[in-house]
């Protein structure tokens, strides 16, 4: 495959842009090769180290793209609406939600589990794929970790406001108090507090620590441009501006400010050998710590249901099935965010290649198949176990009052990821984007299907039908707004790709080794 490999092993990879060399009409950007002997390049466009730094830092340094204020305004507006709904809930009480007996856990837990699940992709990509030396992860790990942090923030909101008296939310933690009461240590809800708390802390550390060298790069570049003044305000209005509007413009020494901000966040990083040595060690330790968390967090979240004795919940398949579902939805969410970002940020396609996206599609198919297998197994065991209540719970799931939710879930989670067996499906970017959204919808419905099992409890006289209220819906939409607001801020001000890690997987970093290393790049 001459288009992929340099002609001679000793020759460094081409430095200049040579699109015809990489471009292949059949495989979009030349990275979708099926020859197992050939290694697809991880960075395209014939880039050298300098252009990598320039491009990635440029997204944070250059003028704000035109779409950004619009997207940010919309997200912040939706987030504000969600905050109002939360305020309304706090002032009025949880009665503003559709919760009632027998469905005492409604959308709040559905949203919580959904968001925590989404938060799983970040750690999987950054920790597990790091330990397995999957080099294609370098272009998406920072992105996915940021998404994880923001998803876990959204997840943590829901149990926090579900307690009703939010000022008592501290009682979620085992803090000594004058009431001499402790959380119930036998309750999986307390395990959740520890599991999600640990997960958030480790993810945050991992994300932030990984970013320090890149923030230091931004600091140094901002310091060089300290003298420049930047004007903010209504720049889009027709010229000449009315005086009142023109006065709203402010001129700030933007880079002077940012050099201090980035400088503070960079914690005095000076790119010394010793720094890199400690950094690499710490990175590996955190990757090791985060790896079991990928499996433990959603296992414990699944205990919220599995440890109870309700038919339909009390099943041992829950932990692995939840973990697979979490990775499934997490990857879908990464794709949902990555595909527009890849299209909107100039040069991003050189780093996030079609092959990276294809790899993610394959993980979605694997985990989606696991989830589909678990759905089938739940039904099989319900029948094979011979417990009439268990059987009834599952028949009601598929054919009862919530049949529409069940079949939405099956369509989105079982059928749609199987489409990625077809090469066209996993290489057509707009199609992948649609499927990623479908998967997110499906995973939300999965949790809804599980929670709505409560509607038929042991006492048929109290059976009910759960419907959300407008406040429920707007709070959920608001959490999407909070997530997007945080994410857009991340895109605007922080290095979206791990600059140093991307450089590490470029041929230039291994120029003298090229040709005889056998590290798979897949």
């Amino acid at each position: 495959m001459s288009i992929l490999e340099p002609d001679h092993p000793d020759q460094p990879a081409p430095m200049m842009r040579s699109d015809e060399r990489y471009y292949d009409a059949d495989t979009i950007d030349g990275t979708l090769v099926d020859d197992p002997g050939a290694r697809a390049p991880l960075v395209l466009g014939g880039r050298d180290f300098h252009s990598v730094t320039d491009t990635i830092c440029g997204w944070a340094e250059n003028k704000t793209p035109k779409w950004w204020p619009l997207a940010f305004g919309t997200s912040a507006g939706v987030a504000g609406l969600g905050t109002l709904m939360i305020l309304y809930l706090i002032i009025t009480g949880v009665g503003v939600w559709g919760l009632q007996n027998p469905v005492s856990w409604g959308w709040a837990i559905v949203n919580f589990v959904w968001w925590v699940g989404i938060g799983h992709a970040g750690t999987l990509i950054s920790a597990i794929l790091c330990l397995f030396k999957q080099k294609w992860r370098t272009s998406i790990n920072r992105f996915a970790e940021a998404m994880t942090i923001f998803a876990v923030i959204c997840a943590g909101t829901f149990p926090g406001i579900h307690v009703g008296r939010v000022w008592m939310a501290w009682m979620l933690f085992p803090i000594p108090n004058s009431n001499a009461i402790w959380p119930n240590f036998r309750s999986p809800l307390l395990w959740d507090v520890f599991a999600v708390g640990t997960y958030f802390t480790v993810s945050l550390l991992f994300w932030y620590m990984g970013m320090i060298p890149d923030i230091a790069t931004l600091r140094d570049r901002a310091t060089l441009r300290r003298g420049e003044k930047t004007t903010f305000g209504p720049l889009w209005a027709p010229h000449p501006l009315p005086k009142v509007i023109a006065n709203l413009r402010v001129t700030l020494p933007y880079f002077q400010i940012m050099s201090v901000v980035y400088g503070f966040l960079a914690l005095g990083w000076r790119f010394s050998c010793r720094h890199w040595h400690n950094y690499e060690k710490a990175y590996l330790i955190l990757a090791g710590l985060a790896t079991p968390l990928v499996l433990s967090v959603h296992s414990i979240v699944s205990f919220d249901f599995a440890v109870s004795i309700l038919p339909g919940w009390h099943t041992t398949i829950f932990p692995p099935y939840f973990v697979a579902g979490a990775i499934f939805s997490g990857f879908a969410m990464v794709l949902t965010l990555l595909i527009p970002a890849r299209a909107l940020y100039p040069g991003m396609k050189d780093f996030v290649t079609a092959r990276t996206i294809e790899n993610m599609c394959k993980i979605i198919t694997v985990t989606g198949s696991m989830v589909g297998f678990a759905y089938a197994m739940e039904f099989f065991i319900a029948w094979y176990g011979g417990n009439p209540y268990e059987m009834d719970a599952f028949i009601r799931r598929a054919f009862g009052p919530y049949w529409w939710a069940y079949w939405t879930m099956i369509t989105c989670n079982v059928i749609s990821p199987q489409l990625f067996w077809f090469k066209w499906c996993r290489t057509c970017i707009p199609f992948i984007f649609c499927i990623s959204i479908v998967v997110n919808i499906g995973m939300w419905f999965e949790r809804f299907v599980i929670v709505s099992t409560l509607s038929a409890d042991f006492l048929p006289s109290s059976w009910g039908y759960y419907s959300p209220t407008l406040v429920d819906i707007l709070t959920f939409v608001g959490s999407l707004g909070i997530f997007m607001t945080l994410f857009l801020l991340f895109c605007r001000f922080l290095p979206m790709l791990a600059i140093s890690e991307v450089k590490n997987v470029m041929p230039q970093a291994h120029a003298h080794l090229h040709g005889d290393d056998h590290e798979g790049e897949h």
Binding site: S178, N179, A180, I181, L224, G263, F264, L267
Partner: protein, 248 residues
């Protein structure tokens, strides 16, 4: 590359770690000490509309708590007396005037053998307030001292009948001119006793449960632990610490 921060900023991480640690410890200490009922509740001593003194009535004159708080053995509530209970004694030296109010009448003080008491009854503003309340047929509007949240049900009768004296929760009321809260009445404080009540149980055959001085002497005595255990076994007193005991 010129420096963004001055050199002394190199000490910032150490300083902030130490400072942050110290601030966290201080915050924990502050919450630990101040954010508790033992800080906020103990010592609550409101000014009452009538300066009734338990010190005089119980300590000096030897009245039993149950003369006024009549239902304490039968009812969850230790009832607060209405003004007519006070007037059982304090009518002495008063007469009903034409306008329906009670006023001092020296002629009625035949059994009060002291001019001092007579004089005291005549001009004491507290008694004037009491007489006015009685004349209008309303109780004195006492301020509640020992308040529990509305979701906590404390049963006086259950405690008194099990041999827990007034003293255990209210302290030496007989020495208080103004009633003050002696104990935090926090849930932790309740549970301490519910989990091991031996420190609070007295033998009501030996000691009058309202004789606060004698009760205190017994509870402070060295044999109390043993005696309490005996009484607990005799009476099969097993205080519950399940939620439904107090929150129902």
């Amino acid at each position: 590359m010129s420096m963004v921060f001055p050199k002394w900023m190199n000490h910032f991480p150490t300083a902030s770690a130490l400072g942050g640690g110290a601030a966290a410890m201080t915050a924990i200490g502050v919450v630990w000490y101040y954010f508790t009922p033992s800080y906020w509740e103990v010592g609550y001593e409101p000014i009452q509309p009538v300066e009734y003194s338990h010190q005089i009535h119980v300590g000096l004159l030897g009245m039993d708590c149950r003369y006024c708080h009549t239902d304490v053995e039968e009812s969850p509530h230790a009832n607060i007396p209405d003004s007519s209970t006070c007037m059982n004694c304090h009518t002495a030296g008063t007469k009903l005037a034409d306008d329906g109010t009670y006023e001092f009448d020296p002629a009625q003080t035949f059994y009060l053998n002291s001019d001092l008491i007579a004089k005291h009854h005549a001009n004491n503003p507290n008694l004037i307030r009491l007489r006015n309340a009685y004349a209008e047929g309303r109780p004195v509007e006492w301020r509640r001292v020992h308040k529990l949240p509305d979701y906590v049900m404390f049963n006086h009768a259950a405690h008194i009948n099990a041999g827990v004296s007034c003293y255990s929760c209210h302290g030496r009321i007989d020495q208080q001119a103004v009633v003050r809260q002696e104990h935090p009445l926090s849930m932790g404080w309740c549970l301490e006793c519910h989990r091991d009540p031996t420190d609070a149980l007295i033998d009501t055959n030996e000691i009058r449960i309202t004789d606060l001085g004698a009760v205190e002497a017994q509870l402070m005595s060295e044999n109390q632990a043993e005696r309490g255990r005996e009484l607990q076994e005799q009476g099969v007193i097993v205080p519950s610490d399940s939620c439904g005991t107090c929150h129902y």
